[in-house]
Symmetry: C2
Subunit: 380 residues, 2 copies
């Protein structure tokens, strides 16, 4: 061995091998900077974590116990077919297991969906300001994004349909209820929209927040089309964001297509066990839904009291119209950040007058309320 | 709502939307059928799980405790930068954090690497019969695989180099020690090989089994080239296969490229915590390495005693030459499966005379020994 092991090898000056032309052209941006990274950069500890629409009530005690019980078994790779979990989901959803794909959270599943359908140059229609991770994956596979502005703080179904008819995209993305605004459409409108999308366009219906939505906002489980894929997650009401597990349901021929490209052993074993336990704990689910509704009401109450205008929400967050321009909303967000309250805000023109506060525990929300009152006082 | 929610919606007969031309052309194969799936298909319960090169000794007690302690926190998304874990790895490896990428196991990282470097039609050189998941990802991104036969049950460095010089691939894949044969090259040979690979070809050096290899098989940590990426995992000696966490180290400009396409919040939070705990428990690591060596010796002893020829191994498995043809080795594998012992075997011509038995606990290996003796008696 004639070379030395140096303590910190420095940067190498020789040219690196080239990425694909597609990747070389991609910007070095990330969809989100996480709260831990924000803490490291600002040096300010987060006292209330209300920016990522997590479930601050945590997973069920039964789920915590299931994770602890499963820990000695993590030396085993996961069941690549997620057999037990898919069976339980099939039972819950009144579907066949073949109609369900379990994957590494909706983020991972959105990436796979783009890879499955978007060849370079293919188009994808989405709302301007909708979920950035979808747009990130579209760009990452060389797709062309066609953004449609929101209308009255809701995704504009007519506008999306017009864009689909005009651009004939491979994918149209719609979330219901929607993130970042928290608004929703009645199930009839969603069904009508989906039925009128041309067969060759895949509809990604992101239902990450469906459990906390009004029941008439969610199309029946039996509503299916060959080009409709519905996305759900254990990251929100089930409190398992850190476990990275979600699922798609749709037509079995399409679901089977994912098997050609997915990382078959990619879902972690504890996530499968935790998700199964979460699914079985209907009591706790009910409690989280109640707590979420109470949290939304509390956010609406105190933001209203402080002179802001909370929007109606079908999700686990409340988007709040700050009544002025984007700079003012950003100043409020910054003021909260300085006071240890992590929230996020919509960035698209028109939506950017708002901030978005996730539901949290009573303590979280009291911290947020006090920080907001303080911030508004300092700003006005 | 005018449609009905049917109990099991049947297959839909309308045409499904088309996948990309690339995906439409992919076969519906999977790299591996997992042991749980094998159990479901055969109806035979697995008594000794010795086919996936897992760590049957399990994770450290300190790691099990760390997982249980972290369970209440799984409502939080992971730190997208794996800051703490990368810091600990950097310390351990005498590297800078910027030279390390943490991802969802080597499987996931291989997929990302293919996506980063392989445009459709680009070539990748690997050994014929080497890790199928790499080949799966190459095909999945439209790459052309150039396979080079093993020589004397080792990856053929000269043959791989000749193929690289002839085909000018974007990627060459090499594992050291190797799976499925368990053999290895001296570090000097690996370093010499890597230095002579042209700059534009990325070298994937898969070191999944490096911790159990002879120390002179592993190139120094400070050995770096702009086109060299080294892959390591928490799935083997650390006993965290089910957690899906591994890492790459290489030149920081290349590592940064992954940030353009990776699923930033894709590593699960508990995996990060478990990996950090595992890294800190040096005592347990030492024990697993000792137990693994003892397990290899025991597999070599009993297979030899039963008239078969174990190959030398630098890994947590022993590949065993059954002395006849592929059909005979397959019959032995089948006989073991019927007796509840899950193993795998190399499939490439020339290697397919062998079976591959993972190290397990004393009890696992006694079950395997008895089943093998029984099988050989039935076959001869």
């Amino acid at each position: 061995m004639d070379m030395e092991t140096s303590k910190h090898i420095g940067p190498i000056t020789m040219p690196r091998p080239l990425f694909t032309p597609l990747v070389e052209a991609l910007p070095a941006t990330v969809p989100f900077v996480g709260p831990e990274a924000l803490e490291r950069r600002s040096g300010i500890a987060i006292k209330a974590r209300l920016g990522a629409n997590e479930n601050n009530f945590g997973p069920a005690p039964s789920v915590i116990a299931a994770i602890a019980n499963a820990a000695p078994d993590v030396w085993k790779y996961c069941d690549s077919e997620s057999h037990e979990l898919r069976g339980a989901l099939a039972e819950n959803l009144a579907l066949m297991p073949e109609q369900i794909l379990v994957g590494e959270g909706i983020d991972g599943l959105l990436g796979l969906t783009c890879r499955l359908f978007l060849a370079q140059g293919d188009k994808a229609v989405t709302s301007l300001g909708a979920y950035p991770t979808f747009s990130y994956h579209v760009a990452g596979f060389g797709g062309h994004l066609v953004p449609v502005p929101y209308k009255d703080d809701r995704e504009d179904l007519q506008g999306l349909m017009a864009a689909v008819k005009k651009h004939r995209p491979k994918i149209v993305y719609l979330s219901n209820p929607d993130n970042p605004m928290g608004t929703w459409w009645h199930a009839d409108a969603i069904v009508d929209f989906a039925k009128n999308i041309p067969d060759e366009t895949v509809i990604i219906l992101d239902e990450a927040y469906c459990e906390t939505a009004p029941s008439d906002a969610v199309p029946p489980l039996g509503f299916a089309l060959p080009n409709l894929l519905r996305y759900r997650t254990f990251s929100k009401v089930y409190g398992l964001a850190g476990q990275r597990i979600g699922y798609i349901f749709g037509e079995s021929d399409v679901i089977a297509g994912f098997d050609r490209i997915r990382n078959h052993f990619g879902v972690n074993k504890i996530a499968q066990i935790a998700a199964l336990a979460a699914l079985k704990d209907r009591d706790y689910l009910g409690k989280v839904i109640d707590w979420t509704a109470a949290g939304r009401a509390e956010i609406a109450r105190f933001t209203n009291e402080l002179g802001l205008s909370p929007l109606p929400s079908g999700t686990n967050f409340v988007t709040v119209d700050c009544g002025r321009d984007a700079a003012y909303a950003q100043a409020i967000l910054n003021g909260l950040a300085e006071r240890g309250v992590f929230i996020r805000k919509p960035m698209a023109p028109g939506l950017d007058r708002c901030i978005r506060i996730s539901v949290g525990t009573e303590k979280d929300l009291e911290i947020a309320r006090a920080a907001l009152a303080d911030t508004l006082k300092a700003l006005n």
